[in-house]
Symmetry: C2
Subunit: 196 residues, 2 copies
DNA sequence: CTGGATGTATACCGGTCTGTCTACTTTGGT
DNA sequence: ACCAAAGTAGACAGACCGGTATACATCCAG
């Protein structure tokens, strides 16, 4: 057993526990005491690793950003490049919504949209961090859109983002896990109109 | 001066004040004391009209549901029926995002999406109330979609809802008020493919 | 003209919030 | 073997939470 890392893992333990609680119950609704109890860690330890709750929130957003983009990138790479890759996004969403992919379970909406809902001011630190995440995901789609239609890649990827966000909201708010399939159908027709 | 209604208006005053605060800062972030201070009302008065904060939240959601649907309905009715009405939705969104319509200012995202983000469990009372609102808005679109393509009205309205939700999220999270125009462009092409 | 509904102001209750502090233990690299 | 880093448990501070209680004022309908 790696005792050495056991110590250093406390930080990650706190982050992943905080993420699970924030994601499920919302950030304001979860107190620091809940986090440390669930993580099985002393309060002092939390404040050893993080200056404040704000810092923990920032770390949680960074953690999820990494996890989510790594997951989506992997799902896309398994598909054929170009159109296949872009449609694979919606298959990935489908598995996410239906909690069929362990790597990204469970589903309680988009953590970043949810966080922006709690910090509605676009100038807010956390809101900005969510924007940065969405920008990176958008750029990911853009790279693949480039394979489909280089001249209109910006347009195409932007429109696909709309379908993606719409699907996530619909799946969460309406508890409609089939939303990804509707969005995929729309995406297919969109791709046809962009085919070169 | 109508002193009689002055009394009865306190309830509405509380609701509209609570809405403004909840909408801007999130529900969990706003305390009951903030609400009564902003409304200029005694705490006893709040608890005379509402059993609890939960009850105030419910009333706030009902108030916004009414306000929003009345506003959107009016905006749609001003446009020619059928396609015009459906496209008018996106013009309305455009004015909302850009805070050009006093009747619906300001813009901090969709109150119902935001509330679902704070109460992620679809079984939660408030989450369900948000679903009900979205269902009513969806039915509103459905009625107009029926004028465009009676056989495929369900499909069409559902797809327009995706564009609408996508636009709202994009406008809020990315602070991109032009999102409504992108969505309108997509909607136009969608309507072409549904034209009878 | 009186009584009940609605309002005011303010103190209070028990609990929880973030964050600090004390005092002690475990661990691992040098 | 030793010391700094990282950990533990838990009390504490001061603010704020939702909600109740007390005591009194205003208003209007029967």
């Amino acid at each position: 057993m790696s005792q050495a890392s056991n110590r250093l893992e406390k930080r990650d333990q706190l982050i992943s526990t905080a993420f699970s609680l924030f994601y499920r119950y919302g950030i304001h609704a979860v107190g620091i005491n809940q986090v440390i109890d669930a993580a099985g860690v002393a309060k002092r330890t939390l404040y050893h690793h993080f200056e404040s709750k704000e810092a923990l929130i920032a770390a949680t957003l960074a953690y999820r950003d990494q996890q989510f983009r790594t997951w989506l990138e992997a799902r896309i790479e398994q598909a054929p490049p170009g159109e296949g890759a872009l449609l694979a996004v919606f298959d990935a969403l489908n598995d996410w919504f239906n909690e069929r992919d362990e790597a990204i379970m469970p589903f309680h909406g988009c953590f970043f949209i949810n966080t922006c809902a709690e910090y509605t001011d676009p100038q807010n630190v956390h809101h900005k961090q969510c924007q940065a995440h969405k920008r990176l995901v958008g750029e990911m789609l853009l790279r693949h859109a480039y394979q489909v239609n280089a001249e209109r890649a910006d347009e195409l990827s932007q429109e696909l983002v709309f379908l993606k966000e719409g699907a996530i909201v619909q799946a969460h708010v309406m508890a409609a896990p089939q939303a990804a399939l509707v969005a995929k159908g729309m995406a297919k027709r969109l791709l046809q109109s962009y085919a070169t």
